[in-house]
Symmetry: none
Subunit: 130 residues, 4 copies
DNA sequence: GTGGTCTAGACCACT
DNA sequence: GTGGTCTAGACCACC
């Protein structure tokens, strides 16, 4: 488990931890059943208060991404493939809505948006080959 | 000038005001030189503290979107068309980068992303006709 | 707003606060839009840490019972009558399921259960008249 | 002896074990004198620490439901029928009090409560026949 | 004034 | 060892 938090960022530290763990679960890097580091250890690693980590774990538990119990520790919850896929799509759709709202306000039409998307896709592909 | 603020939203009210005025300027709805409502009147309309509106106007002035002078009121700043266009494109590109990063992490490929974008474009088109 | 918390109880203080506020909302004692005491004030009244109250308010907000915003304070959320009724019924059904499970395990049959329920109903009625 | 514990549940594992053994004794499934599985074996079966099982047995012994002796193992204690019946009724009454308190707070009247109880009784009956 | 975040340190129950 | 709760005290952004 490699996480990185920025004290300078304006998004709360506990959100950063949450987001990164969620991402790793959704991308398959963290498989169901994988044990998570104990709150104390992670807190020490990240040079952060235990309470901050606790809040992240609490939210992840509430949202069903991990299970956690006193004396047992925390684990990646058993998540079906369909759930993961669905959640990933939901996130992309959210980003698309944001994109289209931005385009609409700026008077950028459908054709231009598709062009920009493809331009960036190509840029990404180049990075992978380099 | 029609603005709407949501007390429930988690983005600060002054940011909401800022964003909406910026949007209207960038989309051409608010042309250069147009007078903005006085802070007091806008505050009353939105049922919001004058200080909140003041903060929004302050930020817009700082970013060069409007000019404000004591006793004169506030006006949309003279902004070249090319500047507006460029700013709009920059925003869309930002949203596209965000979208592609989200897709990449979730293992959603190019084809699926394009499909989702088009699906939402169609949805938007329907709303306009209804 | 009259609340009472017991330090001795084994249910967490923040849960006690949550439950009592929920109850008052569900029973109509606290109407939609009613302002809640600020966290600091309630904490002082209850002789409890601000953080404890905060956790209660956070949970209530997450569950949609109240709205809360920095600089604005907290308010009972706009909840439809049907929602309130539905939530109340849900709670009773939960209690009934628990009751029947207990009865089933102990070999107490339907007739006896109804008898006990009516006995307690009568007892309650007497208390009201006394 | 068939027991099942849920790691996910928020009630402690030792309580789950306790409750289930108590239930089986009270319902007559486990008769007086019946030998209980050794702590080690039960621990292994349930994939749980021996200490956890020990705590459950300890509490059951303290409450008089079982007897335990070093080198002899554990057995269901000799419990009179009247004791069992009385204990069962006590539990049901507890559940009824909880139910009525919930109903009272939610403004659900006697008639509705009885209806819900009967609805759930019918549902239970159906399950048995299926 | 308000709530949101973070800290350090404590005690507890559970495994 | 683990996580859950509570404390007191701090700083911040928002209204």
């Amino acid at each position: 488990m490699t996480l990185f938090v920025s004290q300078a960022s304006d998004t709360p530290i506990y959100s950063q931890i949450e987001e990164q763990i969620k991402s790793q679960i959704l991308s398959g890097t963290l498989a169901s059943g994988t044990p998570l580091p104990s709150m104390r250890i992670l807190a020490k690693d990240l040079r952060v208060s235990v309470i901050t980590v606790q809040k992240a774990y609490e939210n992840l538990t509430r949202d069903g991404f991990i299970t956690t119990g006193v004396g047992r520790g925390s684990f990646v919850a058993p998540l079906g493939d369909s759930f993961l896929k669905q959640e990933n799509i939901r996130r992309v759709e959210e980003a698309v809505e944001n994109l289209l709202e931005t385009a609409r306000r700026g008077g950028i039409d459908k054709k231009q948006v598709i062009e920009i998307v493809e331009k960036y896709f190509d840029k990404e592909a180049q990075h992978e080959n380099s």
